[in-house]
Symmetry: C2
């Protein structure tokens, strides 16, 4: 059996994701779609609006065959590390190709960009370093470096676009893994990432959908944008979790943690650098809500996403020391599979170079312990009753594929 890989967060799973999984399979000619998915915390530095098991079930109900958890150490890291961890896992899982959505919609410009940047790596790194020193954000510096190097006679990926940047990092990571995993891309269609919901557009952004949740829209009204299975699972998790999860919900715990650590100690957590610890501490002291808090801390230099990643690391107690020890993903944690996915894994099993983990209790190394810790804290912040879930939930198995 042949597999293609995708990298996802499914926050939540919507029609755009349905399209992505189907197209990945079609373009690659694969029999199964393997998704590497962030766990309880996401790359933009946020707790997932619903736990990883619910999001896994959504994916399995709508075209994905295997869901693997991207370890916390990669899932909440900056884009290049996120991509590196994800691509490494797709490679380990035996995917012959991987497929990402991009604004670009064609693979060639990405390959040109990679070649350009690889041949001019030194200049590129120097420019990024210098630009970051002037106080601009990392994505902006990356784009500036790239613009100043590119050759007008070739077609390059537009690295001002968020999905193109991520795609570039996937390709860069796949190149480094040095294996014949073929890169594929599909055009993102429908709404942009940050766009609000538009009636009549069958593909809405995850952000738009989440905002609709938090503004109290009925789940039923989101039916045009989500597979029926997603709606059903969202209704279930909404009842179980007593609402959806966002930073505002976790703010009492976050604020407590920031105030408890004090400004000095905050500087030891991953990504917390350059004296921002005082601003974080002072703002937490003065802000009653998360929105007020983040508005006080974010700036042109420290984007909301970057600040949120710092907050995620403070929340989970993830230190710079821990981050520096991260090398490669050390295991494949299986969150779920369809009947088809199980057949693939059984066939493939012996060729997989990493341990395939079905139970949290088997995660004995520090990378796995961190995943357990992050998940447990997420569950504790929702409500103490569900704390054992991390240990007792087996990989979700969806034998019935009638939903697809």
């Amino acid at each position: 059996m042949k597999a293609t890989g995708i990298v996802v967060e499914y926050n939540p799973f919507h029609n755009g994701h349905l399209h992505h999984a189907a197209k990945a399979k079609e373009l690659s000619g694969a029999d199964v779609v393997v998704a590497v998915m962030s766990g309880q915390f996401l790359q933009r530095g946020e707790p997932a609006f619903a736990d990883k098991w619910t999001r896994t079930e959504m994916a399995l109900s709508a075209g994905v065959d295997v869901v693997i958890e991207l370890p916390y150490a990669f899932a909440t890291a900056q884009a290049s590390e996120f991509a590196r961890g994800a691509i490494h896992l797709l490679d380990a899982a035996g995917c012959a190709s991987f497929c990402f959505g991009s604004e670009q919609g064609e693979i060639e410009p990405f390959l040109n960009s990679l070649e350009l940047l690889n041949t001019k790596r030194e200049q590129y790194d120097t420019i990024i370093h210098d630009r970051v020193q002037t106080g601009i954000s990392y994505p902006k510096a990356l784009n500036d470096a790239y613009l100043s190097l590119k050759n007008s006679s070739s077609r390059y990926a537009d690295l001002t676009k968020p999905n193109n940047i991520l795609g570039y990092h996937y390709i860069e990571a796949a190149h480094a893994v040095n294996r014949a995993m073929a890169p594929l891309t599909i055009q993102r269609i429908g709404a942009g990432y940050h766009d609000p919901l538009e009636p009549g557009v069958a593909i809405a952004s995850a952000t738009g959908i989440r905002n609709a949740f938090f503004e109290g829209e009925e789940l039923g009204e989101l039916a045009p944008y989500l597979p029926t299975s997603s709606i059903r699972l969202l209704e279930r998790v909404h009842a179980e979790q007593q609402g959806f999860v966002d930073w505002q919900r976790f703010y009492p715990m976050l604020r407590f943690t920031i105030l408890r650590e004090g400004p000095k100690a905050l500087a030891r957590f991953a990504e917390v650098t350059e004296g921002i610890e005082n601003l974080i501490h002072e703002s937490a002291k003065r802000s009653e809500t998360f929105d007020v808090f983040i508005a006080r801390v974010k700036s042109k230099r420290f984007t909301r996403t970057r600040i949120q990643r710092m907050l995620t690391h403070i929340f989970t107690g993830y230190t710079q020391q821990e981050a520096q020890a991260v090398k490669q993903p050390e295991y494949i944690r299986l969150l779920g599979m369809t009947h088809n996915g199980r057949r693939y894994l059984n066939e493939r099993k012996k060729a997989i170079p990493l341990p395939v983990i079905s139970r949290a209790a088997d995660l004995t190394g520090s990378m796995g312990q961190l995943d357990i810790r992050a998940s447990t804290l997420y569950l504790q912040a929702i409500g103490a009753d569900s704390l054992k879930k991390e240990y007792t939930t087996p990989p979700i198995y969806l034998g019935d594929s009638s939903d697809k």
Copy 2:
């Protein structure tokens, strides 16, 4: 004007405390009663059931003239350190005497004990050290040491009794401060410390009264045991805090904090020693309620009180490093005063060797910052709205003494 000092927690202020304050004044012939009171966390390693301002107001309404906050670094330390900090502050506040309640009820046996133990200090310390090594608790070791040294021809304080032990430490501390502050004691009357409430006994234990609260008794039914002013203030704080405070209420935050730190890092907090960090971590993971949790952790060697002090330090992030840096109290933080108390302080002001602090913003050193942190975390754990209180609450002034 002449002052006598008392050391209190008022958790809550009840008829026994009323008796104590009145008797201290009577025995000492003082014009004012100065109380050194624990802040938001207590010596038995618990959050106070009501905030320090409410407890101050109870005290001022019922016979105490000046309330000074015992800094966290002493208030939550073991008995000898607790006593040392409190006595130091009473001395700094200019008290000519201090008065404590004891099972003994007479001062001479305490002075005999002190002399005995001072002359045999080395043997005493050796015995305590050896006994603790065998796995028995510190108070038990202290009592064993003392029993094996005492001379049958003199009358000694019975150091198996909790209030006698504390009294002994007061006298020991006053002796070390080396000043002519006269020790006085009164017989504790009514219920014992741990006794449940008994109808018809006008003095009930604070523990008994608190248990009645948490078991849902109407405040009005406690009228026989508390001054009217205390009942009124309890009703107010119950509404403000949405109930009273105990570890169960703080358990979600405590549990989150323990799980976030992980077993290894727990060992850096004050009093967390001898490998108990693993048991604390494992028990937090498995226990849905504080009662179940503490039952799992406490033992003959690690008493409930000792464990609770560890938990308090974990909760507030108070490290061994911070604890080791503690020397003497560095300021007199004024929580409240009556008209009479204000007159005394004004008269005395210039002779007070420590800064008298009325606003949290003036607590700039690490000891004061710790007080702010502990109080702020207490407020945050109750509910975010009241977080600024630590900064905005001035010392309570009770001009009207009609209540006494």
